[in-house]
């Protein structure tokens, strides 16, 4: 795999601390599992102006404890459905972290980068190298453990388990 293929990112949109899952995807839409359908309602409580900006956003940049609240997986999948490739935050709520990996959404903890970025800035991450580039600067973060990289590369937990079982059966 060439280095450029590991790079994800683009235009940033910033949110604050403790953004909970009711803000990311309100509970009334939870009967859907279609990421594209869910994306229409992503961040609805933040208003239409915010949602309009979200359409051209590749990177959500958040403060601490992003994704706290309910355990809903749709908080991660609605972002994928809306074209978001990466979430960079000072820290993540535990269930959001797990759900992001399981659904194949790349997330990075980098308090320094969060401080440096403004709305509309470009930001790119390389998960294998553990680097994040924005505003001409490079920040590093600890690369994901090997096991989690495998899950992300497969596109999430379910495709990963399916692949693994297939490999074992063909042995």
């Amino acid at each position: 795999m060439s280095k450029s293929e590991n790079k994800l990112g683009g235009s940033c949109l910033k949110v604050g601390d403790d953004i909970n899952s009711d803000v990311i995807i309100p509970g009334r839409y939870l009967i859907s599992i279609d990421p594209v359908e869910l994306a229409k309602h992503a961040f609805e409580p933040l208003g239409e102006e915010f949602q309009k900006k979200l359409k051209t956003t590749k990177v959500i940049v958040a403060g601490r404890n992003f994704g706290c609240g309910s355990a809903r997986e749709q908080a991660a999948s609605c972002l994928i459905g809306g074209g978001v490739q990466v979430v960079v935050a000072e820290s993540f709520a535990r269930v959001f972290y797990r759900n992001a990996i399981n659904t194949g959404l790349t997330i990075v903890e980098s308090p320094e980068a969060v401080k440096a970025v403004k709305d509309g800035d470009e930001l790119y991450v390389d998960t294998q190298a553990g680097t994040l580039e924005t505003g001409g600067k490079t920040y590093s973060f600890p690369p994901y453990p090997e096991s989690l990289q495998h899950i992300l590369r497969a596109g999430g937990l379910i495709p990963y388990v399916a692949e693994k079982i297939k490999q074992e059966q063909s042995k």
Binding site: D22, N65, C68, G69, A71, E73, R98, T103
Partner: protein
């Protein structure tokens, strides 16, 4: 090893585990409610398509919907029922109570178990001495349903010791809310929180429950209390001791903690968590006098028989304020039956309260509990994020059943200590 480390060692077939280890553990119980269950079943059927390994370990509880308000919701329950029957899992249909209370009272949770659930408050079951963690649908559909397994990173543990004697009017619920203000939302991300000390030891199982319930709002992976005779007695009566093997749990003095916190809560005043977050906790005097249109005893942290008894006591000779709707939502059929027997149902009915079926009540306003802009509710619920109960401009205050009852009588948020 702590209780959690010992459970994870047992469940992953290892002699020992330590914080940071990633283990694949056998799951003893998986719980879902009607809405998360609907999503998990769709993901499982569409993306996995295998049989369920141990359907007897899986429980679905209809608690958000207790009587479908429209065709769409009726279709959700219809699909859930068909899926539950197809796979032979346990189903507790409408009217069985709040998911967590219903599974405990039906004997599905016991000490030593690995419990997973798609409701974020699943860690409440740590009060039973279980390792109880919230997972998402893909973990459930991808590994728990087909293989009865899930991956876990063994968490670091924070020990919290609680000391002192609570003042009249201050309850374990107030202690729980106060802890969120002390440790902070997200103040214990990924950690296990071990609760102990003299005050916790004195508490009943279902008062400890209020403490483990809020550990998720601290960001924790799980919270727990080492099970004692009170827990074992309940578990034996509910035939839920099967996971309690001879586990190698070390004495507290030999356990390794990331940190230890000690609190004396003898001077603690009643607490209220104010919109917009569970961490926005104030002493009741700071918000006393705020007008409310709704009050509710129900949800994960209310509607227990203990809460209904408190309401009966506070309401003696008093009525619900004419401009307040007081919703009472028993958390289980057991709680409702007990309230009937003790005359509490009739008393509170005559005082002007509305009884709802055992369910999760106004949680997320799925079946009840929506508010208009400018409305306010005080409740025993667990979350108060804006737009969770109707308008984004409605306010939800979280408090104890004492404070909720006193406020429903006065028509505004009230310091219970002034009416005791």
């Amino acid at each position: 090893m702590t209780l959690i480390e010992a459970i994870l060692a047992r469940a992953s077939g290892r002699e020992t585990v330590k914080p940071g280890d990633v283990v694949v553990a056998n799951v003893d119980r998986m719980i879902m409610h009607d809405l998360s269950g609907y999503v998990t079943s769709k993901v499982f059927d569409e993306k996995v398509g295998l049989p369920i390994a141990n359907p007897d370990r899986i429980v679905m509880v209809f608690d958000h919907l207790f009587s479908p308000p429209s065709e769409t919701e009726a279709e959700v329950l219809q699909a859930d029922r068909a899926w539950a029957r197809k796979h032979g899992i346990n189903l507790l249909d409408c009217g069985n109570g709040n998911i967590h209370n219903a599974v405990v009272h039906n004997g599905f949770i016991g000490p030593g178990m690995v419990v997973v659930g798609s409701d974020s408050h699943t860690p409440v079951h740590g009060a039973m001495g279980a390792f109880a963690v919230a997972l998402g649908n893909d973990s459930h559909a991808g590994t728990v349903l087909p293989y009865s397994k899930a991956w876990f990173k063994v968490p670091e543990t924070i020990r919290i010791d609680l000391h002192g004697t609570l003042q009249p009017g201050t309850t374990p619920r107030d202690v729980a809310l106060w802890l969120v203000s002390q440790i902070g939302e997200g103040g214990a991300i990924y950690k296990a929180i071990e609760l102990g000390g003299p005050l916790v030891e004195e508490m009943s199982l279902f008062d400890r429950w209020l403490l483990t319930l809020i550990t998720v709002d601290l960001g924790a992976k799980c919270g727990y209390v080492d099970p004692d005779e009170k827990v074992f007695k309940f578990a034996r009566e509910h035939n839920a001791m099967q996971a309690w093997d001879e586990m190698e749990v070390s004495p507290v003095s030999e356990r390794k903690y990331e940190k230890r916190l000690e609190f004396d809560v003898s001077d603690l005043a009643p607490q209220v968590a104010c919109s917009p977050t569970v961490g926005n906790v104030k002493t009741v005097d700071k918000v006393a006098g705020t007008t409310i249109q709704y009050a509710e005893l129900g949800g994960h942290a209310g509607g227990r028989i203990e809460d209904l008894r408190v309401a009966a006591e506070v309401f003696k000779g008093k009525r619900v304020h004419p401009e307040v709707c007081l919703n009472i939502v028993p958390s289980s059929r057991v709680a409702f039956a007990q309230a009937l027997e003790e005359g509490i149902v009739a008393q509170l009915h005559e005082a002007g309260a509305m009884w709802f079926p055992p369910s999760t009540g106004s949680n997320q306003a799925v079946n009840m509990g929506a508010m208009a802009a400018g409305d306010a509710m005080i409740s025993t619920h667990s979350r108060n994020f804006p737009s969770r109960n109707g308008s984004i401009d409605a306010a939800m205050y979280l408090a104890s059943s004492h404070t909720v009852s006193a406020s429903a009588i006065a028509g505004c948020i009230t310091d219970i200590r002034e009416v005791l």
